[in-house]
């Protein structure tokens, strides 16, 4: 394609609307407008110039702000839809059951549409990806020509350019002193003043024009950080349960780190001590004050030999609390939850009639003995043990898991009178005697529990990109929002003084600034051509 040479001598790339150097209107269509469209300085954007190949078409599609806005709106609506019902990650039942059970036909439909995991769905990720592409192409399509145009601009501007500025005015009275005053005022207002042939171009805040592109770069880095998560090894997210007094291997650390849980602490607010909160506590019942696990982090020393106890070296003694995770070499260990596990149960062998006890036995629920000798000829055999008891499908007792959530036992109680023993089935709050006429029973004496701390182990190697992206985004947004790019032209044309001004936003501020710049001169304040138009309309 041919470049366009302007009458001022500047060579513009094909597709340019306003000459980069003097601002002369090169596009015939634009000449009809009383006020110029100054976006991107009328520079030659690829998307506005080429539309032949498939690449052109794709480029043009993604470079359109219209498309970008649609992508934002669709993502916005989709995101909102995902909040109607809880997402899959926040429910603790299988989703195929949960949604219908909790929310009826609507829940079922929600699940069938795949909204239960909306933010992880392929189409949501596709939307985000398209926004990413749109960000890159939109920015490239605009920032390069804009940069070139702003760099090439000359002080002296074409008449057609000046009179088609939104703020514009003509003065027939010419006084050279006025120029000196204006220059002084402009400099006081921190304008960069350039002069050529007695014409003035005052400019400030050009860097705010780069704000949008800077923030887009930040967003792209942020999204890239989000993508890094899918790279294996970049992102570790594991649950770790450690019982009090035990040491566990921290997952995904290459079998290097071990964590010992010394103690789990749960504290509630005390309405007598925390008097300020008395009323609120009475209303809410119990309010948790602190979840804390006192832990020691260990490093394994030496080779890992299977079957042998690893040698451990303590690295850190730490109190893990909510908001205060333990961090070490990129790993963070968070206090996430806790539970109380049954540890042991105590029973007494008792005569049903006399209620006389013949000794107590404590059963370790993780490691029960098969016989408990109570002395004097009394003993109890543990025939079967169901840590997580339920009646199976055929009515037989069975266990759901190895975790002692609901322990049940089959005992044989041996006594001097009954050396063969009597059988008794004991579960929580129930006893079944197969023979129906036992002399002895196992009476429940107490339980011991042990706290188990729930930790989340996390390592996120993509955080740096997220942080960097966030910082750059903020810089860009502030740069674009809190500064304005203002230009004021004061030029000699046909023996008159023409004043024109442009800003990318905040016209009110620009007009006020022009007023101060023109004080102590005989020059008229230029008018806002858009406003004149509107006032005309309003009068009609």
């Amino acid at each position: 394609m041919k470049d366009v040479k302007c009458e001022c001598g500047h060579v513009n790339p094909h597709g340019t609307v306003l000459c980069e150097a003097c601002g002369k209107v090169l596009d015939e269509n634009e000449k009809k407008n009383p006020v110029l469209d100054m976006r991107y300085e009328g520079s030659a954007r690829r998307s506005q110039t080429y539309n032949k190949t498939i690449i052109d078409k794709i480029w043009n599609f993604f470079s359109s702000v219209k498309v970008g806005v649609w992508l934002i709106i669709i993502t916005l609506i989709a995101s909102a839809l995902g909040t109607i019902l809880p997402q899959e990650m926040y429910i603790d039942q299988p989703p195929e059951v949960y949604y219908e059970e909790e929310y009826g036909w609507f829940g079922k439909l929600y699940y069938q549409l795949g909204f239960n995991d909306l933010y992880g769905s392929w189409w949501y990720l596709l939307l985000i990806a398209m926004i990413g592409i749109s960000l890159v192409i939109c920015s490239l399509d605009r920032v390069i020509p804009l940069y070139k145009a702003l760099k090439a601009q000359r002080v002296t501007r074409h008449e057609g350019f000046l009179k088609r500025q939104r703020v514009f005015g003509i003065n027939t009275h010419v006084d050279n002193d006025d120029f000196t005053v204006i220059k002084k005022h402009l400099k006081e207002k921190r304008y960069r003043v350039r002069e050529e042939n007695g014409d003035i171009l005052a400019e400030k805040g050009r860097f705010s024009r780069w704000g949008p592109y800077v923030n887009h770069v930040g967003l792209i880095i942020f999204l890239f950080g989000g993508m890094l998560r899918f790279v294996p090894g970049m992102y570790v997210n594991e649950n770790l349960w450690v019982r009090e007094g035990e040491t566990a291997l921290v997952p995904e650390t290459g079998e290097k780190l071990y964590l010992k849980n010394n103690q789990f602490i749960l504290q509630h607010y005390d309405k007598n001590k925390d008097k300020t909160f008395k009323k609120a506590i009475e209303e809410a019942g119990e309010v948790v004050k602190n979840y804390q696990s006192n832990v020691i982090l260990y490093n394994r020393v030496g080779e890992n030999i299977p079957g042998e106890k690893p040698k451990l070296e303590a690295i850190k003694d730490y109190k893990v609390r909510v908001n205060h995770p333990l961090t070490y070499e990129g790993y963070s260990i968070f206090q996430a939850s806790f539970r109380s596990d049954l540890e042991a149960m105590t029973f007494a062998l008792t005569n049903k009639e006399t209620n006389q006890s013949f000794g107590e036995m404590k059963i370790n629920l993780r490691n029960p003995k098969s016989v408990y000798d109570l002395g004097n000829g009394y003993s109890v055999k543990l025939l079967s043990y169901f840590p997580d008891f339920e009646f199976g499908k055929n009515g037989e007792p069975s266990t759901k898991s190895r975790v002692p959530n609901n322990p049940a036992f089959v005992f044989r109680m041996i006594s001097p009178e009954n050396p063969k023993g009597e059988t008794s089935f004991v579960a929580i709050k129930q006893t079944i005697e197969p023979s129906g006429n036992n002399t002895y029973k196992m009476s429940f004496k107490g339980i011991e529990t042990k706290n188990v701390s729930g930790f989340i182990v996390r390592k996120d190697s993509s955080l740096w990109a997220i942080i960097l992206g966030g910082i750059i985004f903020m810089i860009g947004v502030i740069q674009g929002a809190y500064w304005n790019h203002r230009r004021i032209w004061v030029q000699n044309k046909n023996g008159e003084v023409w004043i024109a001004a442009h800003t990318n936003k905040n016209w009110y501020g620009l007009k006020r600034e022009i007023e101060t710049v023109l004080t102590d001169t005989k020059l008229n304040i230029p008018e806002d051509q858009l406003q004149i138009e509107k006032q005309d309309k309003e009068v009609v």
């Binding site: 702000v65 806005v69 209303e283």
Partner: protein, 395 residues
Amino acid sequence: MVTISSNLLFIAFILYLVATLFYGGAITSKKGAIDKKGTNRWGKIAVLLTIIGFISQLGYFITRWIAAGHAPVSNMFEFTTFFGMALVGAFIVIYFIYRTTLLGLFTMPVAILVIAYASMFPREITPLIPALQSYWLHIHVTTAAIGEAILAISFAAGLIYLVKAIDQSKASKRTFWLEVVMFSLVTVLGFVAISSTFSGLGYHEKFTWIDKHGNEANLEYTMPALTGPHEGKLLTKEGFQPLVEMPALINAKKLNTVIWSLMAGLILYGVIRVILRKRIAAALKPLVKNIKLDFVDEISYRSVLIGFPVFTLGALIFAMIWAQMAWSRFWGWDPKEVWALVTWLFYAAFMHLRLSKGWHGEKSAWLAVIGFVIIMFNLVAVNLVIAGLHSYAGS
């Protein structure tokens, strides 16, 4: 300390009310209210009252902070009150940029409604649950609220624009929707009125009901139950027998409050219409006759420009930093997080439409209204209806 604190809040509230009257006076008084050369005497008094009110509310905030030991932004009452204060603060800042008292006439009532709405929630000082015990509570919540408040100024300016720009001589879609906005504001007043009436009367009635899992539960209403809970049995003697029973899926108590508020809103609105004999927006029109359209348009856009970075920082970036520390992930698609994202996306779309599609003026004003609706949705509906991890903010 707690008493001082609530007294200061009350003083602030009264001052805001009086200030609003003065803003009205500033517009109607003859001496060129919108003249470039500044504000008339009424206007000056109004601004002064606003500033004293703001300082008084700041006093409430500080004394309550001292009493509680943490910044009072940890429950619905405290957060919403702070939002109201931020709104007044944002108005004061914008006032000193643009010097228009008309903006006060539209902003102060919104702020008053917000604070009145806040005081309908339990006002006790609540202890912090472990997840909230972080200095990020102060940083994240206050910055987010300030950001939202500045964005809300664009709503007030947008409203002025619409009141002025929309032709009220004949009914149209535009007059209808503008009136819907007015009605919504009146309904908030209705909610406040009806809640305070029943709580003033000390109304209570108790039910037992069957929840969706088939469990029996207790429920206490503070307004007569128009919509009763699922298989509810009224326990209170002389209590109001529900007119309709709701299925277990629906929260009958909240629905009941909504219905009462709507009824109160309708009655209030009806009374206002009877008195005014025209649409509220039409009645407000004479107040805005002196202001230039593109001037309010600029205030509206400027508020978005100032508020957007603050909102991003507070509601997204600080939120992410804190979430990373408290919940071990910076982003978890919790409803509150998602709605902060929705708000952010909306204002991003707003700015793109304005910059490149040339959506200035009325379109831009409508967008400012929608943006405020989204912010309010995030404040009210997400806390009370959707809940989630941020649910402690719901009481």
